[in-house]
């Protein structure tokens, strides 16, 4: 930058404004460049450390949050049963019709309608003899066939005749129907008019499995939107009401609420910022110029993250912008110290050691996230460090060219002088008092009742109790799988996983009989292992043997002699077929049922057993263990991940504190000044913790990261008061700057603190408290008495 020679000459007001607008235009251009490179991802896993335990691995690598978490539960109510049933069918057809498109939001749409024959493509139909358990206990001899054929005669005389007759020639033992029945969920709700209804018969029920994981807000949003669109189409002109619950639906709703609240708060904040700056500097240009470093910081931060990482996480952007909001302070310091007779460049130069020290130490503090080993935190570090540095450099090297060189001197304000005189009467806090306050705060932190840490991620995004109750009710009615517990069985390939899980089926049936679980579902229910299929194959009679048995069974019976030729042909085909594998199922409805429960990776496979209405996890865990499997508690896994995560953040924070102190030491080089500058910040951190703990707030990660933000603010205030020294006019200007800074920040975060979203409340409360404490403590500790050498 070669501004120093040219820049010392003040420019005309018009030219300054034109330059400011040029800067704005350049930012807009930069935004156009950065925007397409920013791919927002909502994958929470990027904010998680690497998993270690099997449950954590399953949670992070394979599942997201378990088979239950992809499930959306729907109920249609408010009309007659027949209408609701027809709408349920129409909704299902419409949602599955979306499969033709590129985006397939749904894996499975179940409403109780039979999978029926359509589930099995014709090429796979002979496989019914390998999939159905009939042959496990039965041979196709003449006795069995005669019994079956007698029953079929009765079937032809029954109202079911029309349904059964087309099946009979190839399938006289009705294996097709047995399979269709077996594939229905184990404890499905009652079926009325062909679809599931609740026990009272008032609501048609559907269970929809999405492709997107439960924690993928955009994927879930797309699914929820598709469901609403389809529902609107099928329910036109009726009074039908749609109830939609499930983890995905909740995350969409909470995401929407968070976005609405955050944008409302953001709008109010912008107005407040503009208004405050306008009042403080009595210039409409102040808000414009004050906003430029912030906008530059945001864009530079985003650009840096987009360049350095694959995708920018949504949380990085939201949280990052909150954290770099602090750069609003930089121009404010410049404005407040600018006065007639001093070149803006000189003002900026004079402020730079202080501003630079503050920014550098804060940057160092955030940079410690780079060693956290968590992708999301690293993104946050890059974003904030680049953002803060950009804003500081812009304030130092660009802004002086644009600001009004001779504004009203803040030191001349009579109001400020009165304020200062009042403050001057405050006692200064000495080391003893500070130690006492620190001790009391530490005691509160240590001994306040209540849980210290909050590990339950769900508590950060609370679902309204009414919606939770509705979800629990629908989950109970539908027998939907538990979102918390799942049995996992690891094997070296799909075949071994299927074999092992088949061995567990009997024990699981036992658990269901005892009422320990309401139901279970596993891939082997749809696709037996190749070993089992071969065993059944071996029991199929040879062609001549079957013909003889069939002839024997049909002698004297009601059926025509050639009625079952197709049966003989299908059995012959089944005898030589190679066992069905998951690959053969691709494209059939069975694939959807199996692939969520049988996870295949290179050289590794995991079979899952989804459980519903689990009443005794310990009993299930014992059964799982006895079969070489494991009952995973996904809630516990996610909590342990959070705890592990926090440990890393705490280490990063400790490192940040040391580096921050070192940076300040390097800048000030006087033990006494260093102590004085760091004391308000350290004391504030203790006081914030004491207040939060005192009010029974459980601390989470957002509190921790907000503490750094508060510490950064405190450091700035203290550095500037320290910089003002004992000169009254400088002290007044600094007071002016710090009052404007702290007011804008306080208002922003106090608003956040009133939010109904716990994440926003955690950030807002922590930082608002931090601003208040830091401001007061900086005055009490750092400010020097006028004209006295401290």
């Amino acid at each position: 930058m070669s501004h120093d020679a040219a820049g010392e000459r003040p420019m005309s007001a018009t030219r300054r404004l034109a330059l400011a607008l040029l800067w704005l235009a350049l930012l807009a251009l930069l935004a156009l460049f950065v925007a397409p490179r920013v791919q927002l991802s909502g994958d929470l896993r990027k904010f998680m450390p690497a998993p270690q335990t099997p449950a954590q691995k399953l949670l992070i690598d394979e599942l997201g949050e378990g088979p239950g978490s992809r499930l959306l539960l729907l109920s249609l109510s408010g009309e007659a049963q027949e209408t609701l049933a027809a709408q349920s069918q129409a909704l299902r057809e419409r949602l599955l019709a979306a499969r033709v498109g590129v985006d397939v939001p749904f894996k499975l749409v179940a409403n109780g309608a039979d999978l029926g024959l359509d589930a099995i493509p014709p090429r796979l139909r002979p496989y019914r003899y390998l999939l159905s358990p009939t042959l496990d206990t039965q041979r196709f001899d003449s006795d069995f066939l005669r019994r079956e054929l007698d029953a079929r005669v009765q079937d032809l005389g029954s109202p079911a005749a029309a349904m059964i007759e087309p099946l009979l020639p190839s399938d006289p033992t009705l294996e097709t129907l047995k399979l269709a029945q077996a594939w229905q969920p184990a404890n499905a709700p009652q079926r009325l008019h062909g679809v599931w209804f609740d026990r009272a018969g008032r609501e048609a029920l559907l269970a929809i499995e999405t492709h997107a994981a439960g924690f993928d807000p955009e994927g879930q949003q797309a699914a929820v939107d598709a469901i609403h669109a389809a529902f609107d189409a099928v329910s036109a002109n009726t009074k039908t009401k749609l109830t939609l619950t499930g983890p995905g639906a909740f995350s969409v709703e909470i995401g929407g609420r968070t976005a609405r609240e955050a944008s409302l708060i953001g709008t109010i904040d912008s107005l407040v910022f503009v208004l405050l700056l306008w009042i403080a500097y009595r210039s409409w240009k102040a808000p414009l110029l004050g906003g430029l470093p912030l906008a530059s910081a945001g864009l530079a931060g985003l650009g840096a993250v987009a360049l350095a990482f694959d995708g920018v996480h949504g949380i990085t952007v939201a949280f990052g912008f909150t954290l770099i909001g602090v750069v609003q302070d930089y121009p404010i310091h410049l404005f407040s110290h600018q006065r007639a007779g001093v070149s803006p460049w000189a003002s900026a130069r004079a402020l730079w050691p202080t501003l630079g020290a503050g920014v550098a130490s804060t940057c160092i503090a955030y940079a410690t996230f780079l060693v956290s080993g968590v992708d999301g935190l690293q993104q946050l570090a890059v974003f904030t460090v680049v953002g803060l540095a950009t804003a500081a450099l812009a304030t130092r090297f660009l802004l002086p060219a644009l600001i009004d060189p001779s504004p009203r001197d803040a030191a001349d304000s009579r109001w400020l002088a009165r304020c200062w005189n009042a403050l001057a009467r405050w006692p200064r806090m000495n080391a003893t008092a500070a130690c006492i306050v620190a001790a009391i705060a530490a005691a509160v932190v240590a001994f306040a009742p209540g849980t210290f840490w909050q590990n339950d991620l769900a508590r950060l995004t609370p679902v309204p109790p009414a919606a939770l109750a509705q979800d629990a009710r629908l989950r109970g009615e539908l027998g939907a799988p538990d979102v918390r517990y799942v049995i996992a069985l690891e094997a070296r390939d799909a075949e071994h996983a299927l074999q092992s899980s088949e061995r567990m089926i009997a024990a699981l049936e036992g658990l269901r009989a005892q009422g320990v679980v309401g139901g279970f579902d596993l891939a082997a229910r749809y696709l037996p292992s190749a070993a089992t299929q071969r065993a059944r194959q071996a029991k199929l009679p040879g062609d001549a043997e079957l013909r003889a048995a069939l002839h024997d069974a049909m002698t004297g019976g009601a059926f025509n002699d050639d009625a079952f030729d197709d049966f003989v042909r299908d059995v012959a085909a089944a005898r030589v077929a190679s066992p069905l594998t998951t690959a053969d199922l691709a494209g059939t409805p069975l694939a959807a049922s199996t692939e969520g429960l049988l996870l295949q990776r290179e050289g590794h496979a995991t079979a899952l057993v989804a459980l519903s209405n689990l009443r005794d996890p310990a009993a299930v865990a014992r059964v799982a263990q006895a079969h070489g499997a494991q009952l995973l508690d996904l809630k516990q896994a996610s909590e342990s991940l959070v705890a592990q995560y926090r440990e890393r953040v705490l280490w990063a924070l400790a490192l940040a504190a040391v580096l921050l102190a070192a940076a300040v030491w390097f800048a000030l080089r006087s033990p006494r000044r260093v102590l004085r500058v760091l004391a308000p910040m350290a004391l504030t951190t203790l006081l914030i913790l004491a207040v939060l703990r005192g009010f029974g707030v459980e601390l989470n990660l957002f509190h921790l990261v907000s503490l750094i933000l508060a510490a950064g603010l405190g450091l700035d205030y203290a550095l500037f008061f320290d910089h003002a020294g004992d000169d009254r006019a400088e002290q007044l200007r600094t007071l002016h700057a710090v009052i404007v800074c702290s007011l804008t920040t306080l208002l922003v975060f106090a608003l956040l603190a009133t939010s109904s979203i716990p994440v926003l409340r955690a950030i807002g409360g922590t930082v608002a408290l931090g601003v208040a404490f830091n401001f007061v403590l900086a005055l009490l500790i750092v400010r020097e008495p006028v004209k006295e050498i401290a």
Binding site: Q154, G157, A160, P169, G194, F559
Partner: protein, 168 residues
């Protein structure tokens, strides 16, 4: 009586239809074996002695759904319900009348060509359900015709009986 190309001869079953309440139709077979079918709320339940009941949805068997609607309405004398589901055409004399019901619903029409009711005076004697595809006809003889059917020797005689001829 029901015919099928798989069978050597049409099946002959006797029993009773009951309508315990407005939404339920019970079909009870007494001979040659015992079987009870309950049609209710779009679902059919078939029970046989010594077997667990089988349930299936009427939506898979539209002719059954049609049967339940129309038969229930017939037994209950609910003219409006019948007209909502079928086009009606009456023929014959009071002593030997025919009411042909052609389904309006496309799903039902694809399975059932027509349901023909034969009667004598105030007596409904026979319900013939003509399948759409193969023309198989299922005949349910009722009231007087059912009693006379016990004496009928062969299928042809039953058909004649159904269509209103006096017993031979």
């Amino acid at each position: 009586m029901r015919g099928s190309k798989l069978l050597k001869a049409p099946l002959r079953l006797t029993g009773e239809y009951r309508r315990p309440d407005a939404d339920t139709l019970v079909r009870e077979v007494r001979s040659p074996y015992a079987e009870t079918t309950t049609l209710r709320a779009g679902e059919a339940t078939i029970e046989r002695a010594g077997q667990s009941p089988r349930r299936f949805s009427l939506s898979r068997v539209p002719e059954l759904a049609g049967l339940q609607n129309s038969f229930g309405a017939l037994l209950g004398g609910d003219h409006a319900t019948i007209e909502a589901h079928y086009r009606l055409q009456a023929d014959g004399t009071r002593q030997r009348w025919t009411l042909t019901m052609t389904p309006k619903d496309a799903a039902l029409a694809s399975k059932v060509q027509a349901i023909v009711l034969n009667g004598r005076g105030s007596e409904l004697r026979c319900i013939q359900t003509r399948a759409a595809g193969n023309g198989d006809t299922q005949r349910t003889l009722l009231a007087g015709a059912a009693q006379e059917a016990a004496k009928a020797a062969d299928a042809a005689a039953l058909v004649a009986l159904c269509e209103g001829a006096p017993a031979r």
